[in-house]
Assembly symmetry: C2
Homo-oligomer: 146 residues x 2
């Protein structure tokens, strides 16, 4: 027997379920790279913003300073990210050559992943989503390390 679920008419619930489906699909797309979603997002932000700091990456992605530490450590261990001291308390992050190659690979994978979902939606629907979702985000400034 299939149950009723009034939560289906709730925005937060629908967002969570849809987000979970896309995250699971992304994880599968990245599986053989041995990189987690949080790590690839950091990698891409560093690719776009050479010489940024760890805290800045965290602010861009709503990841707290403390939680950035293992992410950047892992990217450095993997030889994808390098850093040099800036002023004794902060670092400038850049991609290594391997990191740049990896970032391109990641972009291709994300393109494929996104396409699987975006192709199901019309252009006006996509416009609505990209207008509404940021509104939800800024509604409550409850995001990490705001």
């Amino acid at each position: 027997m299939t149950l009723t679920n009034a939560l289906e008419s709730r925005l937060g619930y629908q967002l969570r379920r849809a987000s979970a489906v896309m995250m699971a699909d992304l994880s599968r797309e990245l599986a053989d790279m041995d990189l987690r979603p949080a790590e690839v997002t950091a990698l891409l932000v560093i690719a776009e913003n050479p010489d940024c700091s760890q805290t800045e990456v965290g602010q861009a992605l709503a990841i707290k300073r403390a939680n950035m530490v293992p992410i950047i450590s892992r990217l450095m261990e993997r030889g994808l990210v390098a850093r040099r001291r800036i002023d004794g308390r902060s670092h400038a992050l850049t991609l290594t050559d391997d990191g740049s190659k990896c970032a391109k690979d990641v972009q291709d994978r994300i393109d494929r992943h996104e396409a699987r979902f975006v192709e199901l939606l019309s252009t006006p629907d996509m416009e609505t989503l990209f207008r509404c979702l940021p509104v939800i985000r800024t509604a409550r400034e409850a995001e990490a390390e705001a």
Copy 2:
């Protein structure tokens, strides 16, 4: 300095960020009840579907059988849910009187929580969201215990 982040134009990323904001808001709304989001969603599904089984609740919410165990245990310890054997291997779940009161309280809290976000969106935008989000979910049947 503020960084650029091309992920902002990705559907999966926007869904994740928006979902995280709403989840954080819901957690705050529930904080003094000492119930987690996963527990209240199970509570509500049981309220709607008296005598359902644990596995059915999991299927409705995309929570795996194994992960339902601590959720139901906790709701029973709290005296909110009762169960009786059906056929030796399955149980029928119902709310206790306390559970019904709690479910009503939870509904009110979710109403307030949802209202904070929904009031920022127009009716046609909401219609679009409730049409598109289920499409995303069904795109890949990657959901738990499918």
